[in-house]
Homo-oligomer: 219 residues x 2
Amino acid sequence: MKKVDIAKKILSENDKHAFENVMFLGQHKKLCLNMISSPGSGKTTILTRTITDLKSKIRVGVIEGDIQTDIDAERISRTKAPVIQINTNGACHLSAVQVSAALKKLPVQDLDLIIIENVGNLVCPSDFDLGEHGKIVVLSAAEGDDKPIKYPGIFAKAKALLINKIDLLEGGLLDFDIERATTDARRLNKDIKIFSVSARNGEGMNAWYDWLAESIKAL
Amino acid sequence: MKKVDIAKKILSENDKHAFENVMFLGQHKKLCLNMISSPGSGKTTILTRTITDLKSKIRVGVIEGDIQTDIDAERISRTKAPVIQINTNGACHLSAVQVSAALKKLPVQDLDLIIIENVGNLVCPSDFDLGEHGKIVVLSAAEGDDKPIKYPGIFAKAKALLINKIDLLEGGLLDFDIERATTDARRLNKDIKIFSVSARNGEGMNAWYDWLAESIKAL
């Protein structure tokens, strides 16, 4: 089957660069997380609040992946955190070679944590290893509680799941059942850490911050 | 460049089957629309309400694209509309050959309109022509008003944009500016029809129904 061979070739080329990134991060002893979600789940808002709230404790650098525009990198740079924008120009995911170049532009020595914000896409980015230590999946409560079983790939692989926009649940306008999403995610991945948060009002963010601090320490 | 050649090859194979679908739909004189959005924008809810509300006027058949599960096809079949499920088993978009097989299973003669619900992904499906008459993009207000400029591909190609979940705007918990999303979408695509709707409470759906009826008549 030709298509399978081609896919393997692209992946193994990517894996070569992913391994370079693993080596680079290991050498510098820096934690790197790859944040993946649908468009509009609130990844950038999670990042800006995390960077601001942890400013005195954890120095965060960001690699921003977008198809076009630097809107998100602009938002991150307002927090004063170092940020490198990657535009994929149509591609649906970041690749390891792009991240490799971005890592070299970040002031890695001055950081405790590097977060890659991938292109908004719940499917493709989960198949491309970037050499990160772990994937983080973000699910907005507005997307519905059936997403873990409908898009199992990323939920099966992620170290942590942030269920975001839980402030929207209060109005009673969403049918999202946190219990269902949580149970389904754990069925796919028994070790996944789950945080229910509102990046808008800060609810639940402390548990996520504690997990970040522990993960940095455990490196 | 090998990668470009490979992409071209896959696309042209797809285009061959898309052309078959164009011929099939032309022969039967049936309108076919390809609905594309992020996961959780409300495509299935839009479909179930549309089918139910138009039951006495327009007979709708559905082709359901999902990575896994038949949850959405189950929801559609409760409306009694004929529905064919396609599971892509990991692939991030429907392809024309899959749709070709599904079209042959639908009772096409008894229908006025065929809607394909693509895999939840705002990026990849827009590059794969299925032989449809037009693409419909759905954007949930909870995803944010910056999505047209951040994911321009589908907004530039779609015949219509449904801005869904506008009932969530009333609580004041979202920053979504309909004017901004609309202006940006029109800048990418001056002919795009835009409908602000709540598939949950029915607000704004009549304009969408009128457009569907006109589009069927214009075929």
